[in-house]
């Protein structure tokens, strides 16, 4: 498969589209957890119940077209290859839990991959909307509309006092998890994240690495989300998160300005060294690649590097994950083979950018 063709099939819309504040906010995500009233939760339900729920979704929703989102495709976990599932996880479309531990799990995926509805994960239904940039309110609106759409055919487990009943009491109430993926290289470089993370957690928010619980912040990308789901309205939860995110954006911008002022040439040097590594490496581990990509992206944002699209960070951070590399290779790879393919993929992807830039220059001359 050629790289360009691979990219066309691999890249979801949120990865290469720009949204508000997308110099710092890579993506916004809303997740709603819902359960169906007459079934036991996926923690304990039997295979029959599980299959019944999947069938119901297949018959009612997979064949319908939603007026805004369009058509959905139903993917059943037990019909997918391990690598295919891994790719879906790396694209943040399904959770690792659904891919690995839920034999009767399924996922309704919209064509543009903005919406994925997980079935039989920890809860019967998990509606997920993923938007580029800072668009929490927009994502919430979309999730709410889908929630109403599903509720037309399904009786939700709901209690007047406790709200939407979820398998885990950490999600009860709104069942809402709002999260934002942020690229914060300047705050990390100036070691301010160490102070910011505890401060944020005091506000009922959580800071994590890219791939959720327990993962480290590869490439200076942090995921910030709400912890509290009970006692606050959906709108308030989203507003509270948004206001913290906006403050972080302001602080990151200030830190970038300060960095440029104080160590202009050193910063430029760091950016171009990283660019040099990415364009010339033959073997590269994901940690180093992530750090270099973060530097290059910062270089693009600060104007040191021109002619490379910003989305390169979002895109390559995902494409260089093991699952994607193996899909690109068309089979299983050992870790050291992955590091070689990763280097090749990154080099070629950056060459594509150079070619695009040159073609653009030629057009300008004409």
């Amino acid at each position: 498969m050629s790289l360009e063709k691979f990219l066309n099939t691999a890249v979801s819309s949120w990865m290469n589209q720009e949204g508000p504040d997308s110099d710092i906010v890579l993506s916004s995500r809303i997740r709603l957890a819902r359960n169906i009233v007459d079934y036991q939760f996926p923690t304990v339900f039997g295979n029959e119940e599980a299959q019944h729920i999947v069938q119901q979704f297949e018959q009612t929703f997979a064949r319908q077209s939603h007026p805004v989102v369009g058509r959905f495709e139903l993917l059943k976990m037990n019909e997918l290859q391990t690598i295919e599932k891994r790719v879906l996880v790396e694209k943040h479309l399904i959770s690792p839990h659904l891919a690995e531990d839920c034999p009767f799990g399924a996922c309704l995926l919209s064509e543009n991959e903005e919406v994925s509805i997980m079935i039989n994960e920890e809860d019967h239904i998990r509606i997920q909307c993923l938007f580029p940039g800072l668009q929490l309110t927009e994502a919430l609106e979309m999730a709410n509309a889908l929630d109403d759409w599903i509720e037309m055919h399904v009786n939700y487990a709901f209690d007047e006092k406790k709200g939407y009943l979820t398998s885990c009491p950490t999600n009860v109430g709104t069942g809402l998890r709002a999260s934002v993926m942020m690229h914060l290289p300047a705050l990390t470089l100036t070691q301010q994240m160490n102070q910011i993370i505890p401060a944020i957690s005091q506000l009922g928010l959580v800071v994590r690495g890219t791939y959720g619980e327990g993962s480290e912040a590869l490439g200076n990308i942090f995921q910030i989300s709400n912890q509290i789901t009970l006692g606050k309205s959906e709108e308030d939860i989203v507003e509270d998160l948004k206001s913290v995110v906006q403050q972080l954006i302001a602080q990151e911008r200030m830190a970038r300005e300060a960095l440029v002022k104080t160590l202009n040439i050193q910063l430029e040097d760091r950016v171009f060294r990283s660019y040099g590594i990415l364009t010339n490496c033959r073997v590269i581990e994901s940690k180093e690649a992530a750090q270099c990509l973060s530097d290059v992206r910062l270089g693009i944002d600060l104007g040191y590097i021109k002619n490379i699209s910003r989305s390169i960070l979002n895109e390559l951070m995902i494409l260089m994950q093991p699952g994607f590399l193996q899909q690109y290779a068309g089979g299983a790879l050992r870790p050291n083979e992955r590091d070689v393919l990763r280097a090749t993929l990154i080099r070629e992807r950056l060459k594509m950018e150079e070619r695009k830039a040159m073609e653009g220059d030629e057009n300008d001359v004409r």
Binding site: E151, A157, G214, I228, L230, G231, E234
Partner: protein, 181 residues
């Protein structure tokens, strides 16, 4: 960097513990980190999962040993009549078996919800359209009553009277619905 505990294996876990503004750093290998009870936040790829933490919160025996144990002993026999989950099972996995569990374990759940959701125990968000009809009206009433108090406090009695009439109207509608939900 070498693990500060065993001084043999390389330190792969780095913790920063902040208690009352006092910062302490730990650099441990995976093995020692797991043994370190108080810094158990992360362990390897299995990850620090909310479920693990939560189970700790729910399982009063393990982390606190002693004092609280007796008070909660009666809970152990509690069992959900719909899915047969016992409180002990719930405490272990941190997840309920069915929506009825919320009813079965309501008493025990209250303090847990308070801890998890910074003191909140009552839903204040969306209500499902189709099944939530009368609940929706009751929520509206609660909202209006709050508004009524505010208006009275500000001595805006004319507006308060309007709100009071709205409440009465809604209340008469709910009583027609009967005692459902």
């Amino acid at each position: 960097m070498i693990c500060q505990e065993c001084k043999q294996r390389p330190a792969t876990m780095h913790f920063t513990k902040i208690i009352n503004g006092e910062k302490t750093e730990f650099h441990l290998c995976e093995h020692c980190a797991q043994e370190h009870g108080d810094v158990f936040m992360f362990h390897g790829n299995a990850g620090f999962s909310l479920q693990n933490l939560l189970a700790g919160l729910l399982n009063f025996e393990a982390p606190t040993k002693g004092a609280k144990q007796n008070a909660f002993q009666s809970i152990e026999i509690l069992q959900c009549e719909r899915c047969n989950m016992t409180y002990n099972q719930f405490a272990k996995i941190g997840r309920f078996g069915c929506s009825h569990c919320y009813h079965t374990f309501a008493k025990q759940l209250q303090p847990i919800l308070k801890r998890l959701h910074s003191g909140n125990t009552t839903h204040a968000g969306k209500i499902p359209r189709r099944i939530g009809g009368s609940i929706y009206i009751r929520k509206q009433i609660a909202h209006l009553k709050q508004k009524l108090q505010e208006l009275i406090a500000r001595e805006e009695f004319e507006k308060a009277a309007e709100v009071r009439d709205q409440i009465r109207l809604l209340e008469s509608r709910v009583s027609k619905h009967g005692e459902e939900g």
